[in-house]
Symmetry: C2
Subunit: 254 residues, 2 copies
DNA sequence: GCTACCGTGTGGTCAGACCACATGGTCGGA
DNA sequence: TCCGACCATGTGGTCTGACCACACGGTAGC
């Protein structure tokens, strides 16, 4: 039913067995965030594989945002289980965009779909009771509006990204938050290029700030439909203005 | 302004330089799907790094669904650029679920959000003009209803997954399709466990088939709201019935 | 003409050797 | 007693070289 006989099973490549071992330890609860993995040399000896194979598996886990590695000795050294899905999501989406697997247009559209749901859920929750989870997002808005301290485009965009991410986090769905972060970061280069060619940045940033406040207002008013409409307009307007969707990772010339 | 002097810049780890090189080649169009990467040994020599570092980078690309490797010689050997985004999504989400980064509940919820948008878009498009893109999905439904040929639960679930994926593909947004596939696959183990404990599989499968037809009917009728409602009920009912969301990767006992 | 063979290049793996680094203990002096 | 310098230890990061299994493609022999 399961394995035919005794042999085989070993058909997987060495680094895959390492990955499987770690995954099963995670599922079994033998490994939880904060724990240290055994050292590469110990893992290699324990699993009967070479250290290079262990390293290939750890590299994958690192890129996927599951572990953090550090040299040296002490409590902070070695490979430690973390859980930072957004990092892996970013790398995944960005490379897929680069490889033509994803169109920038679809990335923007997907982000819109996810974020629409985020604000809808937040508005629903806020209609029932005040939402303290929104506090981080509000702080970011305050930071964006500091009088007398003009932000550069880059600084503004950084805060803008943080605001949208804060909304996603506030909704409580980590999967959506990670995906949104990944989608956004993966096209960040295009967004920044788009912002740099805008004729009047002052006008744009002023409008964006107003739209952010309006979105939050709709959420706090407990109006899902309004919040949804506003986030949609917010995203679509910006991307239409900067023409981000038409930017193509490929250079057709030369 | 940028680099202090001549040195440094090399601060990135060796395997990262390999990754960056490949990414930039992808963006520049020097590498497109179907192309062969240079051999590991050539890449190592060219970039001035060890072969093991090259391998770590290639391993990442493989897990992320960007390349396919094959031993031997000939046209099919070596590392070839592909673009299978769902593979990377699956690995990422599955491991994050295992590491407690993602809750199964949130995965299901996110899938629901994405799929709601898929059927909404399909219904809108279908309202304007017939949608030939739905053909693959319809074929799968036919296969699920073959009379006299009772499908096992596993076979049924495989077709079920294919149906939902076909809908996503029909919507034309590859990012959403890939993410949905990844989300679905990552919790497939839990879904199958849930199905295996259902009291009356015949009743369930009959109901699911009817629901599938109803969803398609709503799409073809060009009724976005109805399609949205039906897909939501379809997914929520099933997951409530099988209690998938409550399945926890951890075993609290022993 | 066909078959069997073998050279060649590929990824897959392992072993061993360094390196830089961060820690934590030890030893010496104040 | 206290404190600073020192160094042994263990970690990840990297490179080198060596095999292996495999798949192709040409070649020699039938």
């Amino acid at each position: 039913m399961s394995a035919a006989s005794a042999p085989a099973v070993d058909t997987a490549r060495a680094w895959e067995t390492v990955l499987q071992r770690i995954e099963s330890d995670l599922i079994a609860g033998a490994l939880t965030p904060g724990d240290h993995l055994p050292s590469e040399r110990a893992l290699a000896a324990e699993l009967g594989v070479g250290r290079s194979s262990v390293r290939e598996a750890l590299r994958v886990l690192e890129v996927l945002g599951l572990i953090r590695t550090q040299t040296g000795s002490g409590p902070q050294s070695g490979a430690i289980i973390i859980s930072r899905p957004s990092g892996g999501m970013t790398a995944l989406v960005r490379l897929q965009v680069a490889a033509h697997g994803f169109a920038v247009r679809d990335v923007v559209k997907t982000r819109l779909v996810l974020e629409s749901d985020v604000v809808t859920e937040l508005a629903r929750a806020s209609g029932a009771a005040p939402t303290p989870a929104l506090a981080p997002a509000l702080e970011i808005l305050d930071a964006m509006e500091q009088p007398g301290d003009e932000l550069t485009r880059d600084e503004f965009l950084t805060l803008d990204q943080a605001f949208h991410l804060a909304l996603a986090v506030a909704s409580g769905n980590e999967v959506i938050a990670a995906m949104m972060a990944g989608l956004r970061e993966s096209i960040e280069a295009y967004v920044r290029v788009g912002a740099s060619v805008l004729p009047s940045w002052d006008d744009t940033s002023t409008r964006l700030k107003a739209e952010h406040r309006a979105i939050v207002a709709a959420i706090e008013a407990g109006d899902p439909e309004l919040a949804r409409t506003r986030i949609r307009d917010h995203i679509e307007t910006y991307h239409a203005e900067t023409n981000v969707s038409s930017i193509h990772p490929h250079r057709e010339d030369t």
